[in-house]
Symmetry: C2
């Protein structure tokens, strides 16, 4: 297998180094914005040089971002090359087009590393679906926020200083919004549920609340109830209706997810026969992510083709039947909050079970009005 | 795919019911000691009727026990039929012979459900090894003892009453020794490390201590140190030397394994690139176990053949370089225990790091001498 590698940053260098130890595949051309010694004479001047190279049968895309990754991967597929990517932004945004393009050109498109980093997640969903349909799934899909919440829980620290520490350690980006506001998790949940349920849904349909406004006080309040705060993704298909949310949750201390440390991820699915299956591993990082990219490549050499599911039915997210009680800390008690409050604590309330879409709309409106509400399902 | 099913008990009925919902395979003959309505006219009079049936291409063995399971599976392989089993006793005892026989007859032998029940364990070890060799593995491999330890930890109950409750709930056998003395875990660890490291070792080489003598006092002492007691399997290959133990361990409260509830299993492996990977699921039970049997069958229909590893190098377990501190509660303080004691608590001691084989030999001798010592690595 001869590979054209698009991107030679954190993940790209990892992929390159792992493949250098193998005899069944080689990276023969590399596209990179930055030249480095490891690339040597493999540097390609343009995507054309890679897609027109008849020796290259497979393209690995680890540049990140939707554009020009989409155009490059599309060009590769159109030229009859298999494509493997770790790029969740690309997969979440262009899932349908890329799979269709791969099918049209009779090649394979795989993206196991795009959700859960090192975790054998999408491929085990694919496996489970062969025997029992996955009915629900979810988990802790973002290592940065899990690192922040673990540190806040263990050390009683406040959000801003913990985020700063995470940035210094390289766990969080300079602009942390994709992690702390939830879109990174929303993307991974969208890919997961589309693969698991064999559907096409838009990620923007998933109600998403992040951790930007969590405080040491919230962590303390959760602890007093024997709970741990985590940012949780979840999705379910029941009687053909798909529901999904991304939101902070108060987990009881004895739940496995409550004990997932540092920057690890936990993802889970449930099926009728296999029951609950959880997977824990590094959700990011050079070698863990590159590892799963190379696993996809080995699958290709072993003749495993296609996407993770054969069915791609357009579908919508419908949360109208999902009700949960919420912890809400708000500087203002308005009419709505008063109407759903069941118990009142110092500076916060616990609501009766309310519709999740309704609560997410309320949180969003409050934040837009300058009231930094923090809410978490209980 | 036409299947001859050996055994129609808990797991066998599960396999039969899951396959009845499928169109790509059918159970056409059943061997069972007990006739039931679900078997109908498929009851086979003898193993000969199954292995001589040219319509049957695959045999599923879920009878349990080494004999006559070994003779039956051997006969099937010799007659050119693939074999799938969930029987850990069989795999642990006859690993080498069965794999050799399958290779000789150009058929497949798979046993994913034999370790971890529903968990995609052996197949993910196989997958990881394609990119980075598994370096170490372990976990909580017995749901019965995990149920007992969870109940003792949560309720402060004593061992005997909790065991009795587990027996009433069907989680523990009438003769619980395979679970509580450790041989069940030892078997699963032996299969796991043989597959992971591509070796042939005897299960009896693994030093094994169980939970028979754990008391509510031990649980209380562990809690006072912020620890939780679990029965833990672990194995490592380092510089070509394989070490392995099965023993109770004091886990810190924030370890993921410490929070595995009820009768769930957690198994983990670690590789250089993929780092730590954990899998949590039901380790036993009708449908969870049957589920993984059917997954093996689907793999066969998709042309995945062979065992989980190509290498079968005879090897020994060597713990001479493994040292750990131990919690030891003993009615007697003898010279040896005094010589390794680092700190003393009420009725127990914590030792300095001692060689694990040495400590296991000491525990065994004490118990044989009528002193029911409980020891756990700390």
């Amino acid at each position: 297998m001869n590979i054209g590698l698009l991107g030679h940053g954190t993940i790209g260098i990892g992929v390159d180094r792992i493949i250098k130890k193998r005899t069944d595949m080689a990276v023969t051309k590399v596209m990179s914005l930055v030249m480095d010694d490891e690339i040597g004479d493999r540097l390609a001047a343009s995507i054309d040089e890679i897609v027109n190279d008849p020796e290259i049968d497979t393209v690995v895309e680890v540049m990140g971002g939707v554009h020009p990754a989409f155009e490059f991967v599309s060009a590769a597929l159109k030229h009859g090359k298999n494509a493997v990517t770790a790029n969740k932004a690309l997969v979440a945004a262009c899932y349908e087009e890329l799979v269709a393009l791969a099918k049209e050109n009779n090649v394979t498109f795989r993206c196991t590393a795009s959700v859960g980093g090192s975790i054998p997640w999408l491929i085990n969903i694919e496996r489970a679906n062969r025997v029992n349909p996955v009915e629900s799934l979810g988990g802790i899909m973002n290592g940065t926020t899990n690192f922040i919440m673990s540190a806040m829980t263990n050390e009683g620290a406040d959000f801003d200083e913990t985020l700063k520490k995470a940035q210094e350690l390289g766990y969080a980006e300079k602009d942390p919004s994709a992690d702390i506001d939830g879109p990174d998790v929303r993307r991974k949940l969208s890919i997961s549920l589309n693969v698991a349920f064999g559907v096409l849904t838009g990620e923007e349909e998933i109600p998403t609340a992040g951790l930007r406004y969590v405080t040491a006080e919230d962590v303390k309040n959760a602890k007093a109830m024997g709970r741990t705060i985590k940012l949780i993704a979840s999705a379910e298909r029941k009687d053909g209706v798909i529901s999904a949310t991304v939101e902070p949750a108060f987990l009881t201390g004895d739940e496995v997810m409550a004990s997932i440390p540092s920057n690890f991820n936990l993802v889970w699915y449930r099926g009728e026969d296999c029951d609950l299956q959880c997977f824990v591993g590094q959700g990011a990082g050079r070698f863990p992510t590159a590892y799963n990219v190379v696993e996809d490549l080995v699958d290709l050499t072993e003749g495993r083709t296609g996407f993770y599911t054969d069915s791609f039915t357009p579908a919508s997210i419908d949360n109208s039947n999902v009700f949960r009680p919420y912890y809400v800390r708000s500087a203002v008690t308005d009419e709505y909050l008063a109407s759903v409050t069941e118990t009142t604590g110092e500076g916060y309330v616990i609501t009766r079970p309310v519709n999740v879409a309704e609560m997410h709309a309320y949180i969003k409106a409050q934040i837009e009005n300058g009231n930094p509400v923090f809410a978490a399902s209980v």
